[in-house]
Homo-oligomer: 303 residues x 2
């Protein structure tokens, strides 16, 4: 018997909703624009209700959401998006309407933790207990597993907002983050690249100097994460990392910056399998939502 | 019945060895200079053997060691110090001689993970599952618990070696780390302070501008760790942090740098209990070693 699951990759521009059992068995999928919580959540709910009439009951739903989000189950705001600047979504209850209407377990986490869990179940992080999944695109964020469980802590990581060294002589762009100026996201997100260049980056040739600069910032961030929590692997997704030629540049620069200090064969000898693209390609998000559903079902049916 | 434990805070200048059951019951303690592995380990072993004759059997021994160390139990080098520059200690087996001679379970981890575990059992981190213990002194290092278990991952964290932004106009000192120049340790360790100033820092008045600079670098590092793994608390120990006047400076600068982005009451309202000195004062290390012993005994006697 297969366990039918629902998943929502809840992004700031669209909600991708899917029903299925895993990567090879997605039975239905729909994209809903992110407008107001009432409208978007209403449409998503209608999709799952129609699917349940058609395909039978869902064991659980998983929601991998843009954030920041409240992840403490004991909080009255659990399952809410909290302090987002996105109009209408501040303090929006995302998980609650689904839980109340569908009456099934609802797993809820950040978009990047969801993607990380998807990669752990079916992708490039199988068998690892401490790794990082990052998206480098419109924004920069990271999630992952620490000692076998999703990264939570005080709230949840906001990996894109670490401060990096910037040499104003080599890169006069002051950064585009409204909170921190030249933090990692402020320097290296897709919009930061575009603002620095005055044009979109993806049409530039692979030997344009901006790619070496971009790889340098990504490598600075990765070395910081390596020193901070010693992950067993990095999985780098998102629109910017769709530029596959960045991978060898990032790998070489990580080794250059660490300068032999971290004596691990994973870094010194096998960096090609240490810093990798998502095993699930651009489906980490929606499959991650299904993985959250699966985990929620497993914990709700545990003795 | 009390469980008698042995602990070694194995540092680069001295091994502090203790026998007892916890902070209020240390029955014997000795300091042994760190010379060669044979001599230092031999003296430590003689101390514990004498104690066992006098006080009765030890349930387990814990070793909180300087590093880098090998922490993977399946590695043939488990319990070794690995790539240290300290003469004679490269690839030195530290845990093995004790395990073979004393025939009791030996817990082995980094000095900072040991101290973190001590703070978790008896100090300022009781009840937390994700927090960081840092020492800022001769070197800078960090350990802690992630999701309830000690930080390991690929090898173990090397938190002192993250890169930080440095404005050469405000701080022309290029940093003292032989691997990375102006990484956190290179900028903010005790020796870095002394090298920058041309004198030891502790005799300087509390309003000397170097303290604001030091607090700025520490706060930059802490905000990076907050964004990376969202700890529930920071415990800051070590010789530099013995300058208690640094705490309010660091707390204010962390808030300043985060700029309201991390919406947690722990940071926005209660930062005095978010960034704190060790609850065990300068005994985190040796009590941490006892905590490692306790954990090793508990896991060896688990069903």
């Amino acid at each position: 018997m297969t366990t039918l699951l629902g998943g929502i990759e809840a992004g700031g521009t669209k909600f991708v909703c899917a029903v299925g059992t895993g990567p090879d068995d997605i039975r239905a999928q729909v994209r809903i624009p992110t407008t107001t919580p009432e409208e978007t959540i209403g449409q998503a709910l209608a999709f799952f209700q129609a699917q349940m009439r058609e395909q039978g009951p869902l064991a659980a739903l998983g929601i991998a959401s843009f954030g920041p989000v409240e992840l403490h189950p004991e909080s009255p705001m659990f399952g809410f998006i909290t302090s987002t600047p996105k109009p209408g979504w501040r303090n929006a209850d995302v998980a609650g309407p689904f839980r109340r209407a569908l009456k099934i377990p609802v797993g809820f986490d950040t978009d990047v933790n969801g993607a990380a869990l998807g990669e752990h179940h079916w992708g490039a992080a199988q068998g690892l207990d401490t790794f990082i999944y990052m998206t480098i695109g419109t924004g920069i964020g990271g999630g992952g597993l620490l000692n076998g469980r999703l990264m939570h802590g005080l709230i949840h990581p906001e990996m894109g907002h670490i401060r990096l060294p910037r040499d104003p002589q080599k890169d006069p762009f002051p950064g585009g983050c409204p909170f921190h100026g030249d933090c990692f996201e402020g320097l290296a997100s897709g919009p930061a690249l575009e603002k620095r260049l005055g044009q979109r980056a993806e049409s530039l040739p692979v030997d344009h100097p901006v790619w070496a600069l971009e790889a340098h910032y990504i490598a600075l961030a990765l070395t910081s994460y390596i020193c901070t929590l010693s992950p067993q692997r990095f999985i780098l997704g998102g629109g910017v990392m769709a530029q596959q030629h960045l991978f060898p540049l990032v790998r070489a620069e990580v080794r250059n910056l660490l300068n032999g200090y971290i004596q691990s064969p994973a870094i010194l000898e096998h960096i090609d399998t240490y810093i990798v693209p998502p095993g699930l390609q651009d489906r980490s998000g929606v499959l991650g939502a299904l993985a959250l559903a699966r985990a929620s079902f497993a914990s709700s049916s545990a003795p």
